[in-house]
Amino acid sequence: MSFLPYAVAAWLFGVGIYGVATSRNLIHLVVCLTVVQSGTYILLLAIGYVGAGKAPIFADIPLNSKVVDPVVQTLTLTDVVVEATVVALLLALAMQAEKRFGTLDPDELGVMRS
């Protein structure tokens, strides 16, 4: 059971990539990419979790309390913001592509071959 968090991270990685590779709609594809990325959040936070540890905020717990790793949380914060920016940019591209190509199907774009 204690492998479950890592297994979920791996599963999201795999299922997200499956979605990206087989997507028929650019908007759907972008969302699948966020699923892949959410695998990294779970992995990071699961790595830094300490059994029975508190959140690393010493507002109302004593200074020597057992807390979970604060570094992974910092990294995940950055990661979440990065995801939002990538989504915004990709959506903008998808919308422009739809405007010019008249389709959102990545398989029908294909202006450039070979």
Binding site: M1, S2, L4, P5, V8, W11, L12, V15, G16, Y18, G19, S23, R24, N25, I27, H28, V31, C32, T34, V35, S38, Y41, I42, L45, A46, Y49, G51, G53, K54, A55, P56, I57, V67, V68, Q73, T76, L77, V80, V81, E83, A84, V87, A88, L91, A94, M95, E98, K99, G102, L104
Partner: protein
């Protein structure tokens, strides 16, 4: 070591993450992904990461789905226009 509510949250996240990928219609997917974002936020609370959870709520279950909805709305509108033109 792993707590029961963490297991529940993890299973829910895995299931809804799969659902996000399998729902191929963007509009329905935007709804599912908003739900997924909230579940993730819950999981982060369960992992003792309230800062991340708060970010996840504002970005993952509000910000990103809003952008998605706006993008979908624009696309739908153009589709309608194209149909009208034909």
């Amino acid at each position: 070591m792993i707590e029961a509510f963490q297991i529940v949250a993890l299973v829910l996240v895995a299931a809804s993450g799969t659902a996000v990928v399998l729902v191929r219609d963007p509009l329905r997917q935007a709804v599912v992904v908003s739900f997924y974002g909230s579940l993730l936020a819950g999981l982060f609370f369960a992992f003792q990461a309230p800062d991340v959870a708060l970010s996840q709520i504002v970005i993952g279950s509000v910000g990103v789905p809003l952008m998605l909805l706006m993008a979908i709305a624009k696309v739908r509108k153009r589709e309608l226009e194209r149909e009208r033109d034909e």
